[in-house]
């Protein structure tokens, strides 16, 4: 399929936004940066959503592909080489114009640039870098940029992109090697994890060089907890477990590749100030192998000279922090037979080993007819995706470990109850919790209490006894919490601490939400079924 230059900008936007929409990450969070005179844009750590599309997902960034040309043939993808779709590409200038004009009108918070693999990974990554460089230099754009790292591209290009962008991501796509081989024959985990390792090491080294800790900052609740997956103790627990069970599910193996950050090893500057000179040396002399790869590349695409190498970045670009908003990844769920346990273990492993900022889950939407995939028209597993995100939050903000939520014997989430309620019901021996004396970590584990309300509780109880009306004002969801807490020794209602009773009550509370998530795409009315809709086979 040839490039069709006669397409208008609007048609191109239609094609390339449509092709990019299955990528779920659309957050503008993690980087805090003030605006500067003469430049356009700032960045707010909490992230800003600018609109919500008809599917209820937020629109924060201009999410587009640079091109939907692709040499790969991943079975699940709309843009696979064997699909007969209209192929097109943005010029770097078109992307810049769109970003800047949308940004000024407050439509978006920045750019999310991804791409199909055009000719080869190096060529694609080079086009991406060229676009970002133009946007940062000529268009003086200071807003948020999320860029996809293309596995297989030379390290220099990944590093250049890292200095220009706020967040980078490499999609893991599927949690196991077999699934990946089956559905994405051109990709391997080794090739995907190598750039991920390289980026995370370079982030850590950059952070050390500017006097921060090597690990990314985590939320306040995680720091206050001490035992979560990001803490030193949490990591050690996992390491011990991994050693005792070497064939543990969910753990990705990188193979023997000694993948390193750009600054690591001998080329690490002693003074701790990686600046232009050192980087120049590192990138142009230190990496002969990839240098020769690049020479090969030049001969392939006819010796283009508009190449943006880190050595050619201006001083100001190199003073930018390297990927300040961290790295993320995403996994497709529902296309392959992995269990929730497997997915959650993989997620935790990615957080601990690669220090990722986020792991996203994408409920598989059937787009292609293929014997290896669910049939067209299969509804996407939205409730499962929802449960995984709930569990992801429990890992990142609530101090839970994957093994507490699921196990080999119970590998999937309870459809009727959210993971936190489910955990609480299996640990009724720990409840009820006395709000006026319990520690932060335990209060945080009560269903219906989040990090903010838990903090408010421990701050305000110093100045006076708390009671249920106070908790309600602080934002505690009492309809879930009241089974598990006491205030000054009294429960809110006379409820038994009994698993079957509480489960029945909570399922009643959850039922409406679950039904809405599961059926939100269906027509308005349908025949009611007593046994299916009301889950007559109650929990336990």
């Amino acid at each position: 399929m040839e490039i069709r230059p006669e397409l208008t900008l609007q048609e191109k936007l239609h094609i390339l936004a449509d092709a990019a929409k299955y990528d779920v990450a659309c957050t503008s969070s993690g980087a805090d940066r003030r605006g500067r005179e003469g430049y356009l844009g700032n960045s707010v750590a909490a992230g800003i959503c600018h609109s919500f599309a008809a599917d209820g997902r937020c629109i924060s960034l201009l999410k587009i592909l640079l091109t939907n040309h692709c040499i790969y043939d991943c079975k699940y993808c709309l843009n696979r080489a064997s699909n007969d779709t209209l192929r097109t590409a943005f010029t770097p200038r078109e992307v810049c114009e769109l970003t800047v004009e949308f940004y000024k009108r407050n439509y978006i918070e920045g750019l999310f640039l991804s791409s199909g693999v055009w000719k080869n990974p190096a060529y694609t990554m080079e086009r991406i870098c060229e676009t970002l460089y133009l946007l940062r230099s000529e268009y003086r754009f200071n807003g948020y940029i999320h860029v996809k790292a293309i596995p297989g591209a030379p390290d220099e290009l990944l590093a250049a992109a890292g200095y220009l962008a706020d967040r980078m991501s490499v999609n893991l796509e599927l949690p196991t090697g077999e699934s990946l081989r089956k559905l994405a024959p051109n990709k391997t985990h080794k090739a995907i994890l190598r750039p991920m390792r390289m980026v995370s090491d370079t982030i850590a080294e950059h952070r050390l060089a500017i006097g921060k800790s090597a690990q990314m900052e985590r939320s306040g609740s995680t720091r206050r907890l001490g035992g979560g997956i990001f803490s030193e103790a949490g990591r050690q627990i996992e390491e011990r477990a991994a050693r005792s069970r070497p064939d543990d599910v969910g753990l990705l193996r990188e193979g023997q590749t000694p993948a390193r950050g750009v600054f690591s090893g001998e080329s690490r500057p002693d003074d701790g100030f990686p600046r232009t000179g050192i980087l120049k040396k590192t990138w142009t002399e230190g990496h002969e192998s990839s240098d020769s790869a690049r020479r090969g590349l030049r001969s392939q695409d006819g010796g283009r000279e508009s190449f943006v190498l880190p050595a050619e970045l201006r001083r100001r670009d190199l003073q930018r922090p390297f990927v300040p908003a961290g790295q993320s990844t995403q996994m497709i769920i529902g296309a392959t037979p992995e269990t929730d346990y497997h997915l959650l273990k993989t997620t935790q492993h990615l957080y601990q080993t690669y220090d990722l900022k986020r792991v996203f889950f994408s409920a598989y939407v059937p787009l292609n007819e293929d014997s290896a995939l669910p049939a067209l028209g299969t509804p996407p597993p939205l409730l499962r995706e929802h449960r995984l995100y709930q569990a992801d939050w429990l890992l990142r903000f609530y101090g839970f470990h994957a093994d507490e939520l699921l196990s080999e014997e119970r590998p999937d989430f309870n459809e009727l109850l959210d993971p936190k309620c489910d955990w609480a019901l299996r640990h009724l021996e720990l409840f009820p919790v006395e709000i006026n004396t319990a520690d932060y970590g335990m209060i945080l584990r009560v269903p219906g209490i989040g990090p903010k309300s838990a903090l408010r509780i421990i701050q305000s109880r110093r100045h006076g006894k708390l009671d249920f009306p106070h908790l309600k004002k602080m934002g505690v969801v009492l309809k879930r919490a009241h089974y598990f807490i006491t205030c000054s020794g009294r429960m809110m209602y006379a409820t038994p601490i009994e698993e079957r009773y509480i489960a029945r009550q909570l399922i009643g509370t959850n039922e409406k939400e679950n039904w809405q998530i599961r059926h939100r795409n269906e027509g308005v009315f349908r025949q009611m079924s007593l046994f299916e809709d009301f889950q007559m086979n109650f929990y336990g």
Binding site: L9, Q10, L13, H14, A17, D18, A20, K21, Y22, R34, G35, R36, E37, G38, Y39, L40, G41, N42, V44, I48, C49, H50, S51, F52, A53, A54, D55, G56, R57, C58, I59, L62, K63, L98, E101, F102, K104, R105, N106, Y107, G143, A363, V365, P379, P380, L382, R456, Q459, S460, R461, R462, H463, G464, K465, L466, H470, K473, Q516, R520, N521
Partner: protein, 250 residues
């Protein structure tokens, strides 16, 4: 009972707090109320207070020094909310605050503190929403946006946009309060009241359409996944009343 009244600006409200405090009538014998006062109480004296910048500054400084910056932030946001009794709520909050000091904002078991906490949270949430859902349209070299917030969040949102677009000419207009934040290129923004005629003239800027408004609508349509359509989720994330001035819903 003596009732101190003032108009609905931050300076006037702070001056009112100052005068009420300085009257030495006793906190239980006075009330603060915003103008206009529709129905006067039978056994009340009404004292009108005019804004006085020096007195307001004293109150602000006292809150920041003797209580905390966080308490000042909450007071400011609470005065921007649309609760009719907000001025009296602020006064009760401060009476407790000057007695208890730095720990005030953590004392969530006290109703005075919870009341201001809720008002400030409401105003802050709305300010964040307007940071997100405000849409500018280009008129020549100026970008103009219209909003109709319930809380008076124009100044708070404008501070965000001043950081975001320091080198553009732009204007953020609250259509209901006829209040505008005007930002000249590379300068600080200022607030101004608009007359009815000015507002009518500026209202027309919203109909301005160009290539990028069309492209944005195209993008907005293309980015939604049909198999996941969920208008209920969309509505709860972006309630309908926020959409009035949003380009993609017009």
């Amino acid at each position: 009972m003596t009732v101190f009244t003032c108009e609905d600006t931050f300076e006037a409200m702070m001056t009112c707090v100052y005068d009420a405090w300085a009257s030495r009538l006793g906190h239980d014998n006075l009330r603060l109320q915003l103008e206009p006062v529709w129905q006067q109480g039978l056994f009340c004296d009404y004292v009108h207070v005019d804004a006085d910048f020096a007195k307001a500054a004293k109150v602000v400084r006292a809150i920041q020094r003797k209580i905390s910056y966080e308490a000042y932030r909450q007071v400011f946001l609470a005065t921007m909310s649309f609760e009719p009794d907000r001025l009296d709520a602020v006064y009760r909050f401060l009476v407790l605050g000057f007695a208890s000091g730095r720990k005030l904002t953590q004392m969530l078991s006290r109703p005075e503190v919870v009341w201001i906490f809720e008002l400030s949270r409401k105003a802050n949430t709305e300010a964040n929403y307007f940071r997100e859902f405000t849409r500018f349209s280009q008129v020549g070299s100026v970008y103009v946006a219209h909003i109709e917030p319930k809380c008076n969040v124009t100044a708070i949102s404008a501070a965000h946009f001043a950081d975001r677009m320091p080198s553009e000419y732009w204007m953020l207009i609250d259509d209901n309060r006829r209040l505008a934040a005007v930002h000249p290129k590379n300068q600080a923004f200022y607030m101004t009241r608009l007359t009815q005629e000015e507002l009518e003239q500026l209202r027309r800027t919203e109909e301005e359409e160009d290539l990028y408004t069309d492209l944005w609508r195209e993008f907005f349509e293309s980015i939604a996944i049909e198999a996941r359509r969920n208008s209920q989720c969309q509505r709860s994330n972006m309630p309908i009343w926020y959409r009035k001035h949003a380009t993609e819903f017009r």
